[in-house]
């Protein structure tokens, strides 16, 4: 029996890490006597943006975390950020295989799975956003707390992306230091930000880019049985975790609405324009980086 030691980019108590634990449990159940995963820890062992390097070096066997943390080194991560298809669909249409090649070439690790996909990002605001004549939102000059993956999108909207460390965000929202924030739909309540962010702009954009990677030498050393258990579990859990998060999304959406959060829904042309700006910002970033996989990835991952 082989044992792999795994870490996650998020602390173990958070929702995404719990979902990864579900994957670990699945492998451990199916892999009795063949392969086991020991989920050892999170950022208390390795800083999140150094974890994939730790897997490449072989300090740890397996890691789970956002691919976009390595966007600077592997521009192809934007294919997941800007994707509109499910992980399962991309596994079937060949997109996943291209991503495996990119992970291997640029980051030096084997890509095993794209878990927890289908969770979108949203713009939340403290005050009701102004509307444009064509039914869109006018965020011109609004200061929105941002992260590198959506800086370009916010700028395209005319908003001012503000970079604020997470611990400062609560006080910042309380005191109106900025006007809103981007955040995935799940997790907005974990930080109590929903107390101040009373408006959500729908639709959501982008999607989660959480990868499970494994050290290449370790992978080569595994038995064929072990590899099969891992690959099958990866493909199955991509589906399972997608479905799980659809439920979580539904519950969160209901909870925040019950709590009085107002949802501003963009329709028709305004919606199309909004989403174009979002997705174009991600795909343009990959194109500008000169990735050789741009066309193939766009074909596989983008069907808007």
């Amino acid at each position: 029996e082989e044992t792999l030691r795994a870490i996650s980019a998020f602390p173990q108590s958070l929702a995404f890490s719990q979902s990864f634990k579900g994957f670990v449990d699945l492998v451990n159940e199916r892999g009795k006597g063949v392969i086991q995963i020991n989920y050892a820890g999170g950022p208390e062992m390795f800083p999140p943006n150094q974890q994939v390097d730790a897997v490449r070096r072989g300090v740890i066997d397996m890691q789970y975390g956002p691919a976009s943390y390595y966007l600077g080194t592997m521009p192809e991560a934007d294919a997941w950020v800007g994707s509109t298809v499910t992980a399962t669909a991309a596994r079937e249409n060949g997109g996943f295989a291209i991503m495996q090649e990119a992970f291997s070439k640029k980051l030096g690790v084997n890509l095993l799975a794209h878990l927890d996909a289908g969770v979108k990002f949203y713009i939340y605001t403290i005050n009701e956003p102004k509307r444009t004549d064509d039914g869109g939102v006018d965020l011109d000059g609004q200061r929105i707390r941002s992260q590198p993956i959506y800086n370009a999108f916010f700028e395209a909207l005319g908003a001012i992306p503000v970079s604020v460390p997470v611990p400062d965000v609560y006080t910042g929202l309380e005191r109106n230091t900025f006007d809103g924030s981007g955040w995935p739909i799940v997790g907005i309540r974990d930080l109590s930000w929903d107390k101040f962010l009373r408006y959500r702009i729908d639709p959501g954009f982008f999607q989660t880019d959480l990868a499970v990677v494994i050290n290449p030498a370790k992978w080569e050393g595994l038995s064929d049985d072990a590899k099969k258990v891992l690959n099958d579990a990866a493909a199955d859990y991509e589906k399972i975790s997608y479905d799980n998060f659809q439920k979580v999304i539904e519950e969160t959406d209901k909870a925040v609405r019950d709590n009085g959060m107002e949802v501003i829904t963009l329709e028709g042309d305004a919606q199309a324009k909004f989403l174009d700006l979002a997705y174009d910002s991600a795909w343009k970033r990959m194109k500008d980086s000169g990735s050789e996989h741009y066309d193939a990835l766009r074909k596989a991952y983008y069907d808007r």
Partner: protein
């Protein structure tokens, strides 16, 4: 001797630069906040630069701190030893410090070169090549090792008694 003078200037100059960089980030943050609150667009680069300066000022000042006994050390135990034992302990500490910092200087440089080859980029509020951080680490560790070596060659030991005032 000329080289030594240059070297001494380097240690002091880096420390001065480290202090100046702290003033710089204060001003940068003030400008950033003012721009944000007056409807202008703040610089995207500010937060990334501020974060980098935190390491830069530390690594730039660390060798000078060795020279001025500014790194805190626990001296009470060693201070109670007889003279010969104290000297021996002091030398051993210097040698160990040189080895530790020398090794870290070498490996930081090696990892930095790896980053140059793989064109790795550190993505913060702006993109910065990953090797920059490792260059700072390597330089800081290396110069600290040299400063400890200087103490060893001069027959001195490190006391860590350079209080701030």
């Amino acid at each position: 001797m000329f080289l030594l003078r240059i070297y001494n200037l380097l240690i002091l100059g880096l420390a001065a630069l480290g202090a100046a960089s702290l003033i710089f980030i204060s001003v940068a943050i003030i400008i950033d906040v003012l721009l944000r609150n007056t409807g202008y667009r703040p610089f995207q680069s500010t937060s990334a630069i501020v974060e980098y300066v935190m390491l830069f000022s530390t690594m730039a000042a660390a060798p000078w701190l060795v020279r001025t006994n500014g790194h805190v050390a626990i001296y009470s135990f060693v201070g109670a030893m007889p003279d010969r034992a104290r000297l021996l302990a002091g030398r051993a500490v210097l040698v160990l410090a040189i080895l530790t910092l020398g090794l870290l200087c070498w490996r930081s440089a090696a990892v930095g070169l790896e980053m140059v080859q793989s064109r790795a980029v550190d993505m913060r509020s702006i993109n910065i090549p990953s090797w920059v951080l490792y260059a700072m680490l390597s330089g800081g560790f290396g110069l600290m090792a040299l400063e400890f070596l200087r103490l060893l060659l001069r027959g001195e030991t490190y006391t860590g008694s350079g209080g701030a005032h």
